[in-house]
Amino acid sequence: MTSPETLELEAVEAALAGRYVAPEHAELAELALLLRDDRPEPTPAWQNQLSRRVEAGFPARPKQRRQWVPVWVRKSAPVLAVFAVVAVIAVPIALVGVEGGGDDDAGSTAAGGSGEVAAQDGGGGSSGASAPENDVPALSEDSRSAPTAPKADRAARRKVERAVVMTLAAPRRQIDEVATDIGDVTADVGGFVRRSRVSSNSGGDLQLRVPSNRLDTAVQRLSKLAKVRDLSRSSEDITRAVVSARDRLRDAKAEREALLKQLADATTLNETESIRARLDIVSQEIAAARNALSRVNNRANFANISVSLVTTSGAEDDDEGGAWTPGDAWHDALRLLEVIAGVLVIAAAIAVPLLVAWLLGWLGRRGITRRRRERALDMA
């Protein structure tokens, strides 16, 4: 059964459509027509004006230029600026972290403990080394003694023995070439090859001595000759040994001076011969002390580089061939994708919370606006 409400609404629709309306709804139909016919009508002038604006595509009116930046954005500009600055700082830092953390190359494995060098103390650290330390050009004694040096310079004047152990890998066919290059690099930095044993098939070992102040340069250049499999650095403070050797030399010299004075004052033959015999001994002690000082100074002034030259596997040979192969392209592409993914993750970590906050703000603002509009209608 149709409700009275529905019947009345149908009567309204029928009246508006010009259809028949039952007599009991005649009054309602008349009201509907009155309402329809009595609606407010716009003036022709306004109609024409609006039509012209529609045809022109609603040109912007200069006095009512729209603020494209919403008020809430302008008010929160400082906060957004802080977020932007944090993002600008954080992204590169994070990127550096990604790069450093992922690339664990052999070049970064430096061992700083002095215990490793302790085993080399005293003869250059090479058990079968036949080359004497005197191979190294001797330094002048004057440069080794600086008793009046200020305290600030003492730290700089400390004597440190440095050593590097590195393993270089090269394709079998390049072993000889790399070994030759190692010698060239060593000579270029002012050093020398102390010992070498290299086989074209299996690689070999080279013991290098380079000036300590050129050690980093030498290692850097050697690292470019072949793939660095391993690299470790060590250092040992040998200042005490230098000072001890210097003291022994000074004491011996002082004794010789005293003996020479005694010799000048000697009056008897026996006394003279006794002093001369003692002078011979002291002269030998001076020579020994001088040699000892020279050796220990050379340990500080020249660093040891122990290079193990090994052959690479077949797959690595392909990689080290020099030409840019499809395999290289594949690895580069993967690496590039890793970096891009890292950047995207970091960007998302920053952007997602901001977007969520913005979305919540937008939804809240929309809801508030809607409630205010409805309230305005109630108050109208």
């Binding site: 609404l9 329809r36 407010p40 003036t43 529609v54 509009r373 305005a376 109208a380």
Partner: protein, 169 residues
Amino acid sequence: MTLPATKIALDFEALYRAARDDVFAYVATLLRDRGAAEDVTAQAFERAFRKSKSYDAQRGSERAWLFGIARNAALDELRKRKRTAALAAEPADVVRDPDEAFEHALRRAAVRTALAALDPRDRELIALKFHAGLDNAEIAGVLGVSVSNAGTRLHRALTKLREILDDQS
């Protein structure tokens, strides 16, 4: 370029020609201010023009979409004014047609008075139905309610209007 199925291109000029006077009538009844109604109607069409690319046919008819924009513009005007203005110049043409029967003219005046006395929400429903010519489905779309609820509200508004008219007589 072919638009997606839900993004039917809006013929804005056709919509404007068909709905301009209807929108004005609705806004004028809601605001009860002809001058403000002209401004708000123009503003509503400009907003619709700017947003015409975002119109989605699946979310309602073009007229419902347009009247939704006009309603928001009108309510924003009400918020801005925080007051209601008299329907300026509207009742002045009670005797627009000299040949019109006196009784009929009186009846029209009574309806206007009753309409002005209605609650704003009920007056809005009357305006949407009789001044703007929307069907119940379009009214539901504009107000964000169901079609049956729109019909119920409309019937209630008509009942109140008739009660006011009865009280006047």
